[in-house]
Each structure stands twice: as structure tokens, then as C-alpha cells.
Amino acid sequence: MEVTLHPRFLDALFAYKSQAMNIFRDVLGLYDIHHLAVARVDQQGQLISFSSTPAMEFNLFNSELWRYDLCYRAQWFTQYTQASWAALYEKTRYDELCYLKQIKHAYRTTRCLAARMGNETFIYALASQYESPELEERFVQQVDEFYKIGQYCTNLLLPYFEQCETESTPILSRMRENEVSS
């Protein structure tokens, strides 16, 4: 499956900002989590995401750097497994991805989880600004708890994923296309 960006990908990051903030606020702080993003890949391979740090996803997807992040590749996410963010950066763009996703936001401990819900795949990206062997261990050992957190947010975000299918013409994505083509 080839993954492509949903036409409203960039817009969705901000068009539902207050709603997403309310949802993520419920879980940020639990288990020292400082960042959570929920990305959906539908049956057609279209990717769309909501994030507690939308600037990160905007920079990542506006720059095409996301293509070098294996967490958005079907070969990885269809295994429905988990890994640290850095383990999924392609070596050729490792430094840039690490800077954009982690150093810039001071995220030191990270985890990426893939889950299946119906016919769709959800990718949960979690990060903490703290760093310790205990936290690393917790991120690995208590993965079921992190899946539950991701599923909780996904359920509350579902109406907004649906609205993205019906609402008006994308603005940011169109601006990006114009910039790329000019």
C-alpha cells in the first residue's frame, strides 16, 4: 500500500485545534507523556493526523521529510507493533528527523505504536521530555496502557476524522501545492 497525504492533512492539524486540545488535555501528563499524536491511515492509504504538538507534524509533512520516517510506511505499521521514534528514521535523513521531531521540542523518550481499528490503521506517537532508564522501561513494558490512551483519544477524535471527509476545500494543502509547483 502506498501512503499518501489526505487532501486536508495540513488543515486538519489546526482547523480542530481547540477540540484536539480538549481531548489531549485529558491524557497529557499521564505516565509523563508530553506529546501525543493520532494518525489514521484509511483503506485507500490516505494519512491524516491530530496532534498535541501540531507544529511538529506541520514541519514534518510540509517538508516531505515524513517519507523518510518508517512509522508512515505500510511495511512497518501493518505489523501492528511498536518502536522508539528514532528506530524508525531512515539513516539518510536521521539527523533532520531527530532534530525536527525530538531536539526541537525536547522530546527525549519516545514511542510509536500501530493499532488496527476496523479497516483502518491508527498510529499513536507518544513522547516525554523526561529521560530515565525507568521511563524507557515503562514505555516498553506498559505498552498496553499506552495503547489504551491512544484508543481513548482516537474514539473522541473519530467525529473530527469524519468531518475531514465532508468539509470544505483545503487551504494549507493547496498553498503547499502551489509553492511546490511554482
Binding site: 486540545m21 533532520e96 527525549r108
Partner: protein, 157 residues
Amino acid sequence: MEKVDLTRQFACRLKDAMLAAGLNSGRSTSGVCIHKLVEITGYSTQICRKYLRGEAIPEPVKLVEIARYLKVSPGWLLFGDEHNDSPFSQEILTINKKLLQYIFTRLRSLYNSDADEQEIAEFLMAMINDISQINASEEQSKKIIDLAFSSVHHFTR
């Protein structure tokens, strides 16, 4: 950016930052005190020499440690990025004045909503934080601000 360019530019910035921090050495060909870099990183002289020659880049955790010691931003050290990513400035936001003014012009719509003051303050802080971290043109940033403000009527879930 090509990896070779990146490592060379990193080396130049590392030397600049070390000189600015007073870590210069008249005896070293690089002009900076390699022993101090060994002390900061905990790595061998051989590895540190590679950093200064533009042959390697330290891993991210070590990069942040070097940046912290030299009191520069890791983003600047790695990419020359002047964005607000210093571990020392997490309490400080840097935002384009025109964009901040644009946000102020949109404030009225927030205070006409049903949201309480605390919620509005949190929303504004989050949005200003987003805008300060986004790599976008002024026009794109304004559209982002418009989109975020349009979500406000949903404050109460």
C-alpha cells in the same frame, strides 16, 4: 541538504561556538581546545577530532549536551536554525511581530465565545507556541492562525 555539507557546516558552527565560549587554543590546528570537547562529550580525542574536521556529527543526545555547555541552540549547532529550540529557552517564545499582531486582531472572536478565561489563555499560548515553531511563510502562518481561530466555537465539548 547533503550529509557532507551538513557535517562540515556543523564543524564550522561548533568551532565558532567553542571560540565564543573562550575555548580557543593556539597550539591546535583547529584553533579550539579539543581536550575541552573531549571533556564535554566524554568521547575520545579521535572522535572529537572528527567532529571538528567535519567528518562526523554526534548523536542527538550528545549534540544537546554540547549545545547546553556552549550555551547555543542545538538547532543552530546542527542546521544553523535560529528557531526557538534551545533547552535553556523553553520558557521563552520567539515570534514574528507581524504574526503576533495578526493574532491580536483576531482576539475579539475568542472573548465573544463561551470559553472561560483560563481556556482562552491556554488556547492562545498553544497557538503562539505553534506559530513560533512552525517553518512556514507569513502567508501560510496567517492561514494557520485563521484555521485555529475558526475552531474556537467548539471550545466546550
